[in-house]
Subunit: 82 residues, 2 copies
């Protein structure tokens, strides 16, 4: 079995209102040294299977079909045998 | 300057409707080998500062005050000098 750790983040050029709001909120909480905040999503998916290559290609398809909106987001993943 | 990569995830015992919904949706997309999905949040925070210890303690306070709800969530972070 594999654990896929998937990060989905907005592309750097895409405006991130959630991140901006968090940055402002941190400013109000007296964190003065914040330069920027980008918010993203994180998924941990447990997948049955023994072949890392085929599981990896499944994860890629999952991200492209469901988890990430490739117009505005990018994804990265790591696989860990468990 | 440091880049803090912060993961906020639900505690393992907490029900995760978003993850369950994603798992079901993946099933409908013919991914038959999904064992479970847990959904979480991911933040990239750029913080001015030279002292890793003090930046780290700031990140901890940020997570505890704003980013994570410690009743149901846990957080982890990594610092990377940039």
């Amino acid at each position: 079995m594999f654990l896929a750790k998937i990060h989905v983040t907005l592309k750097p050029t895409v405006n991130d209102p959630q991140g901006l709001t968090i940055a402002r909120a941190l400013g109000r909480l007296d964190f003065d040294s914040i330069e920027s905040v980008r918010a993203g999503k994180y998924f941990e998916v447990k997948i049955n299977g023994d072949d890392e290559t085929s599981v990896g290609s499944d994860v890629k398809t999952m991200c492209e079909k469901l988890l990430a909106n490739l117009v505005i987001e990018t994804y990265t993943y790591e696989l860990e045998a468990i």
